[in-house]
C-alpha cells in the first residue's frame, strides 16, 4: 500500500534522507521511529507529496501522491498541527473538511464521528475553547471524515497528558482493528509505538537502522538478560565480581540489591548455582525481556547519537 524506494532528500546541499526503503502492507500499523531531526517528518511530507525527493520514489496505492487530487481523497492525515480552525465550532470544522472531500451524508457522518471520538456533546462549541486532548480527538475525527484507506499520523499524542494519550492511542487501535485502516505513525514515543504498531522502522540521521516487526527486532537486537535480586547488600560487590568473571556473562550492571547480567546463552539456573555455591544469598532470579526502548537506545547509541 505504501512503497518507499531508495528515497533521498537534500536541503541546501545537506542530505537529510539517504536511501530510505520500506513497505507498509494493507491493514498494518507502521511505526516510524527516530529522534528529533532524524527525518521522520520529511519522509512523511515526501510521501504526502508536499516535498519532492532528490531521488527515489514514494508510492501510495502504486502512484505518487504529488498532484494526484483523486488519490489524495483516499488518504487521511493528522500532522503536527491539528488542522482545525479555532474560530469555528467542532461541527463547522468537520463540515468544512467533509465538503472539501465531497462526503455524501455529511450530517450523519459528522454525528457518528463525534460519537466515535467522544465529543458529541461539544459539537457546537468553538474549537478555540477546547483542551489540547479534545482538539487532538477532533483532529482524529477530521482525518477520517472521508473514510480514507490509509492514514498518516505525525506524533498524534505529542504534548498530551497521559489520559489523553491513552484515549488517542485507543482510538488509533480501534481504527486499525475495527475499520481495518492502514496507519503510518511517526513517533518518538516508544511506549506508544510498542503498544500500537505491528511493524517499525528506526530512523537515524536520515538512514534506516532497523526495519522489522517489534518481535523480530527484539530477537535480533535484544540480548538475553537475567535480573538477580540479592538478599544482602554487603554481598553485592562479591556477586558482581563473580558474575563478571564468568565467560558467558558479557556485561553486568548493579542497582542497589539488583544486578542485571547480560548473558550469551540463557543460563539462568547455572548463574543461580554459581552464586549459591559461593554462599551468596539470592532472593529472586528472573529472565528479563528487552523492551523496545532498550533496542531503540542501543541502535541510536551505536550510531553515536546524543539522546
Amino acid at each position: 500500500m505504501i512503497d518507499v524506494q531508495d528515497l533521498t532528500k537534500k536541503f541546501s546541499g545537506k542530505t537529510v534522507l539517504n536511501g530510505i526503503n520500506f513497505q507498509v502492507k494493507e491493514g498494518e500499523i507502521f511505526g516510524y521511529l527516530g529522534p528529533n531531526g532524524a527525518g521522520k517528518t520529511t519522509t512523511m511530507r515526501i510521501i504526502l507529496g508536499l516535498l519532492k525527493p532528490a531521488s527515489g520514489r514514494a508510492l501510495v496505492f502504486g502512484k505518487e501522491l504529488g498532484d494526484n487530487d483523486d488519490l489524495r481523497r483516499r488518504v487521511g492525515v493528522l500532522l503536527e498541527n491539528d488542522g482545525l480552525y479555532e474560530g469555528l465550532s467542532a461541527y463547522e470544522n468537520l463540515n468544512y473538511y467533509a465538503q472539501l472531500y465531497s462526503v455524501s451524508d455529511i450530517g450523519g457522518t459528522i454525528k457518528n464521528l463525534l460519537v466515535f471520538v467522544g465529543l458529541s456533546d461539544r459539537q457546537n462549541d468553538r474549537v478555540g475553547v477546547f483542551s489540547k486532548g479534545m482538539k487532538r480527538r477532533l483532529a482524529l475525527a477530521r482525518s477520517i471524515i472521508h473514510d480514507p484507506e490509509v492514514l498518516f499520523y505525525d506524533e498524534p499524542s505529542a504534548g498530551l497528558d497521559p489520559e489523553a494519550q491513552k484515549l488517542v492511542r485507543d482510538l488509533i487501535l480501534r481504527l486499525a482493528k475495527e475499520k481495518g485502516r492502514t496507519i503510518f505513525l511517526n513517533s518518538h514515543d516508544l511506549d506508544e509505538v510498542q503498544r500500537v504498531c505491528s511493524k517499525i522502522a528506526i530512523l537515524q540521521r536520515g538512514e534506516i537502522k532497523a526495519y522489522d516487526t517489534v518481535e523480530n527486532l527484539r530477537r535480533k537486537f535484544g540480548k538475553p538478560a537475567v535480573e538477580i535480586a540479592l538478599a544482602d547488600n554487603e554481598e553485592a560487590e562479591k556477586a558482581l565480581d563473580l558474575l563478571n568473571s564468568l565467560d558467558y556473562v558479557s556485561e553486568c550492571e548493579r542497582d542497589g540489591l539488583r544486578i542485571i547480567a547480560i548473558i550469551k546463552d540463557e543460563k539462568t539456573s547455572t548463574i543461580l548455582n554459581v552464586l549459591m555455591k559461593e554462599g551468596i544469598r539470592v532472593e529472586e532470579v528472573k529472565k528479563v525481556t528487552k523492551s523496545l526502548e532498550d533496542i531503540y537506545l542501543n541502535i541510536v547509541r551505536q550510531s553515536g547519537e546524543k539522546i
Binding site: 536541503f11 511530507r45 504526502l48 507529496g49 508536499l50 516535498l51 519532492k52 498532484d67 487530487d69 483523486d70 489524495r72 481523497r73 488518504v75 492525515v77 500532522l79 503536527e80 498541527n81 491539528d82 488542522g83 482545525l84 480552525y85 474560530g87 469555528l88 463547522e92 468544512y96 473538511y97 465538503q99 472539501l100 472531500y101 465531497s102
Partner: protein
C-alpha cells in the same frame, strides 16, 4: 465537486473566520470608519467630495484587505494549518483563489461602509445633497473590487512564497506606504499636492488598468508557487 465549487467552500470558510475574529473586525471598522470621519471632518482642505469617496473606496479596501490577508494566508501558514489543507484533494490554485475571494468580499464590504460614511458625513457637514459622479460610481462598483482582489492575490502570493521574516518586512513597508494616504488630514502637508486633483474617468480607467496588470503579474508569478515552497517556509 469541481475545483471552482471547492474554492467557494474555502472562500465561505474564510469569510466566516474573518467575521468571527473580533480583533480583525474591530481593526477593519477602526481604519474604515476613522478614514471616513477624519478625512471629511478634518481633510476638507485636501479633498473634494468625489476625491474623498474615490480614495475611501480604494484605500480602505486595500488596507483592510491587507489586514484580512494576514489572517487568511499568513496565520494559516504560521499555525501550520496550511499543511493539512495541502493534503486535501484541492489543488494549490483552488486554495489560493478561495482565499483571495474570502478576503476580498469582507474587505470590499468595509470599503463600501467607509464610502457610505464619507457620503453621510459630507452631506451633513455641507448641508446639501452630495452624490458621487458616474465615474466614481463605476469606480466603486467595478474597479475597487478588482483592485482589492488583485492586491490581496499579490500579497497572498508573497505570504505563501516567503518566510515569516520577509513577510514582516513587506507588512511594515505596506503600512508605511499606505498610512499617509489613509489619513491625509494628519499627513496633509506630505501629500496635498498629489491628491488635490479632480477625479475623472481617466483616473478610474488608470486604476482599472493597474488592477488588471497586478492580477496578470500575480497569475504569471503563481507558476513559481509550489507546495514545497510553502512547506519549507513554514516557521
Amino acid at each position: 465537486m469541481s475545483s471552482r465549487n471547492m474554492a467557494l467552500v474555502v472562500a465561505r470558510k474564510e469569510i466566516k473566520n474573518v467575521i468571527r475574529n473580533k480583533g480583525l473586525l474591530f481593526g477593519g471598522l477602526w481604519f474604515g470608519g476613522m478614514f471616513g470621519v477624519l478625512n471629511v471632518l478634518f481633510g476638507g482642505q485636501v479633498f473634494s467630495f468625489n476625491n474623498s469617496v474615490f480614495s475611501a473606496a480604494l484605500l480602505v479596501g486595500v488596507f483592510v484587505g491587507f489586514m484580512f490577508s494576514a489572517q487568511v494566508f499568513l496565520r494559516e501558514k504560521r499555525e501550520k494549518i496550511i499543511e493539512t489543507m495541502l493534503c486535501t484533494p484541492l489543488n494549490l490554485k483552488s486554495i489560493w483563489f478561495g482565499k483571495v475571494l474570502g478576503a476580498t468580499v469582507p474587505a470590499y464590504l468595509f470599503s463600501l461602509l467607509s464610502v457610505t460614511l464619507v457620503i453621510i458625513i459630507s452631506n451633513i457637514t455641507m448641508r446639501s445633497l452630495l452624490l458621487p459622479s458616474l465615474a466614481i460610481l463605476i469606480h466603486i462598483l467595478v474597479v475597487v473590487p478588482v483592485f482589492i482582489a488583485s492586491t490581496i492575490s499579490l500579497i497572498g502570493f508573497c505570504q505563501f512564497l516567503l518566510g515569516m521574516r520577509e513577510n514582516k518586512i513587506i507588512s511594515y513597508l505596506i503600512i508605511l506606504v499606505l498610512f499617509p494616504f489613509m489619513y491625509p488630514s494628519i499627513f496633509s502637508g506630505l501629500i496635498q499636492g498629489n491628491m488635490n486633483v479632480v477625479i475623472s474617468w481617466s483616473e478610474v480607467v488608470v486604476c482599472l488598468i493597474v488592477s488588471v496588470l497586478l492580477l496578470s503579474l500575480t497569475t504569471y508569478l503563481s507558476r513559481y508557487l509550489s507546495k514545497e515552497k510553502i512547506v519549507t517556509t513554514i516557521p
